[in-house]
């Protein structure tokens, strides 16, 4: 693992900030700035408490939990098919991706395997959720940095992806389409051709955003070298997804684990960036969107026939046991640890959501940066509040 100059500088900065915060806390000077829970940059109710010296942050902490909905507890009083309705709302921009790991874990416990066609369609929808999610990230990135226009382009083009999801599942935002043993329905007629056109369009959108934002000097000046996360810090805080890959960690659950999705049957690559700064994270996400469109294209080409539902008993009772299944969701590793006592509902569900771990690095990361950089870092770490608070 190579350590770039930027990553080395991040260590020095963090140590300098440590020294300063010691002085700061002793003298009790400076100003405490509360970013949130109601603040335009936290797109939700994240609260960042920052202690400032002028415009420089000397100490920062985050206070999540303003949107805690108790999903882990709620899962315990629901049957297995009912849980997908709940977990849809965790990462609300890529809803379908939330259902998949839970269903996979349940299938693993029951010893059922979904038929190949269901596996393929599952993967297609999984990747579509990723596109829908990250496209909005790319647009929102501009807004956070002061450029309003990309957000409108993102909303315009994301609508096509949502249309495709809607025409299969009937829901734009919360499909609730995944079932233990397969899927609720088959694809509608003509869907594949439409999807390919939409994916072509999304690739065009990526090119457009690359022109508009990533090629912009001001954007580079704002993001390069800002919020550098060295690889070992990323590992020790449990960062996952594009945040880890932006720090040069070549790790993607879609490639590295085989949980029963069709990713390993198509040709795609995992992008990493050695710098670990905000630009690297954004860039990795841009490339991932392109890869996701390619995955969908190839899966559509090789879609096998056959049933979309395995033989599953009418009343689902999961045998006693424990299972943990994690998938590479748009925001990072998302996993469900299910303990079953043989009932119609889970005994205990632990949800490992990506954003919660991803934002845990913020107190380390925010020390020594300027106030505008807080926003850049928050935007580039990319969290969904529902994913932090659950």
């Amino acid at each position: 693992m190579t350590v770039t100059e930027r990553q080395q500088r991040a260590y020095v900065d963090a140590q300098a900030a440590d020294m300063r915060v010691a002085v700061e806390l002793e003298t009790d000077e400076g100003m405490t700035l509360n970013l949130g829970p109601q603040h335009p940059a936290t797109h939700g109710t994240l609260r960042v408490i920052a202690r400032l010296d002028g415009e420089q942050v000397v100490w920062a902490d985050i206070s999540p939990g303003y949107m805690h909905r108790g999903y882990e507890k709620l899962c315990e009083v629901r049957t297995y098919p009912q849980v997908t309705t709940l977990v849809n709302r965790i990462d609300w921009l890529g809803s379908f991706a939330n259902e998949v790991p839970f269903i996979l874990a349940s299938e693993q416990l029951m010893g059922i395997e979904a038929p190949p066609r269901a596996r393929y369609i599952r993967t297609i929808l999984f990747e579509m959720a990723r596109v829908a999610n990250i496209v909005l990230f790319l647009g929102d990135l501009g807004v956070q940095l002061g450029a309003v226009t990309p957000a409108f382009y993102a909303f315009r083009d994301r609508e096509h992806v949502l249309d495709q999801i809607e025409s299969v599942t009937g829901g734009r935002f919360h499909p609730n389409f995944d079932r233990i043993g397969g899927l609720k329905d088959d694809l509608p007629k003509g869907w594949i051709a439409d999807t390919k056109a939409v994916m072509q369009r999304m690739r065009m959108f990526c090119d457009e955003i690359e022109d508009l934002l990533f090629g912009n000097e001001i954007f580079e000046a704002r993001t390069r070298g800002v919020g550098v996360i060295p690889a070992d810090v990323a590992l020790s805080y449990g960062l996952s997804g594009a945040n880890a890959r932006g720090s040069g960690i070549d790790w993607d659950l879609r490639r590295d684990t085989d949980v029963g999705l069709a990713h390993n049957e198509v040709d795609w690559r995992v992008w990493t960036h050695p710098d670990g700064d905000s630009f690297a994270r954004c860039w990795v996400r841009l490339q991932e969107t392109r890869e996701a469109t390619k995955i969908i294209d190839q899966l559509c080409d090789g879609l096998p026939g056959g049933p979309i539902m395995a033989k599953v008993p009418r009343i689902i009772k999961v045998p006693e046991g424990e299972a943990y299944v994690a998938t590479e969701n748009p925001l990072g590793e998302m996993g469900y640890y299910i303990i079953s006592k043989g009932d119609i509902g889970p005994f205990r569900v632990k949800i490992r959501s990506a954003s919660f771990s991803n934002v845990s690095v913020l107190p380390w990361l925010l020390r020594g940066v300027y106030v505008p950089d807080i926003i850049t870092i928050l935007a580039s770490l990319y969290f969904i509040l529902g994913d932090i608070d659950r």
Partner: protein, 348 residues
């Protein structure tokens, strides 16, 4: 002597009549361009750039949206925060808008259509334009809000930094025109010639291209438009110094923002694009008092288009990067521009 001036000389107006007329004229000169800019650029051009339609309901093609907005702001509750310095808080918007009015005083619209003809007109315009900083600083401080305070201080630092390149960019024009008088600068451009060719006069944008560029960048910063909108920075500081303002006071800030965009664009059009004059037309012609303002507004819209185009496209700088741009690039560049202008002035 043109007939209009003789006409004006014949009709002796009482002092209060003249004052009323002038006040009305300034109101029109401030509000009409501000409204036009908001509708044409903020409502419509921005919408088209963002692949949407913008306001379409109020009036044909949304043209009455402005009135609806004003009505909305007037109805809103005027909230003054509990800890705020009430007098200063109420006073700040007026300071900002007063500075715009004072800029328009010296902008000439035609041979006889002007409010005041100062010998040092451009000097006055640049001087009063920085009065608005006071208003912003007062607003930021008196709101008793940390975001407002940060915004106000950012604005102060930024406007002071960009005052200098702006003045230095204008110095080139002044050297070339040989006068500080705005009418004199217009005349110098209309009657000037480039390398012996006087067909289109000499709009200083041709010979002072670098100066025009620096002036535009500094103007963008003075107006706190993206990419220099850190004082407002809606994703960082909520709304900067305007965070706590609502209702009519917010409207005043809003008008101030766009009216000063119009004022600066008018100054830029006068300095670099030839002002109200049309090349090849007699400068003293009577009808220029009617056509001149239209010509100036057209040129003003052209400059404002550049300003807003950049605003809708670019992300914003960070505060330190902005200062670096001002002190390390723009000021040295404008000094070089002045030296080159002086050398060429002596040579030709």
């Amino acid at each position: 002597m043109s007939t209009l001036t003789t006409l004006a000389a014949d009709i002796e107006l009482a002092w209060w009549q003249q004052t009323t007329l002038r006040s009305l004229g300034v109101m029109i000169a401030v509000l009409i361009p501000a409204g036009t800019l908001v509708y044409v650029f903020l409502f419509k051009m921005m919408s088209f750039m963002q692949s949407r339609l913008g306001p379409m309901e109020a009036g044909p093609y949304g043209s009455l949206q402005l009135l609806a907005e004003v009505g909305k702001f007037i109805q809103k509750e005027d909230i003054i925060p509990w800890r705020a310095d009430r007098k200063l808080f109420a006073f700040a918007p007026y300071v900002v808008i007063a500075s715009v009015f004072m800029i328009y005083l010296v902008v000439p619209f035609g041979p006889d259509a002007y409010f005041v003809d100062f010998d040092t007109g451009i000097f006055w315009a640049l001087a009063v334009s920085s009065v608005s900083v006071l208003g912003i600083l007062i607003a930021g401080w008196s709101s008793a809000n940390k975001y407002s305070l940060l915004g106000g201080l950012r604005a102060a630092g930024q406007l002071i930094a960009y005052e200098l390149p702006m003045v230095l960019a204008v110095v080139g024009v002044v050297i070339q025109a040989g006068t500080l008088n705005m009418q004199g600068i217009v005349a110098a451009q209309a009657e000037g010639e480039i390398f012996g060719f006087g067909g289109i006069g000499n709009p200083f944008v041709l010979t002072q291209g670098i100066g025009f560029l620096i002036f535009l960048i500094a103007m963008q910063a003075e107006l706190t438009q993206t990419p220099f909108d850190m004082p407002i920075a809606e994703s960082e500081l909520v709304s900067g110094y305007m965070t706590e303002y609502s209702g009519l006071r917010f409207l005043l800030f809003f008008i101030g923002e766009f009216a000063s965009a119009g004022a600066f664009a008018a100054v830029a059009a006068t300095l670099f694009l030839g002002g109200w004059a049309i090349p090849g037309v007699d400068l003293d012609a009577d009808w220029m008092n009617v056509v001149g303002p239209l010509v100036l507004v057209a040129k003003m819209m052209l400059v404002a288009f550049l300003v807003f185009w950049v605003r809708f496209t670019y992300p914003r700088f960070r505060e330190d990067q902005l200062q670096q741009l001002a002190w390390k690039i723009l000021i040295p560049l404008s000094l070089v521009n002045i030296l080159a202008t002086m050398a060429l002035k002596v040579a030709f």
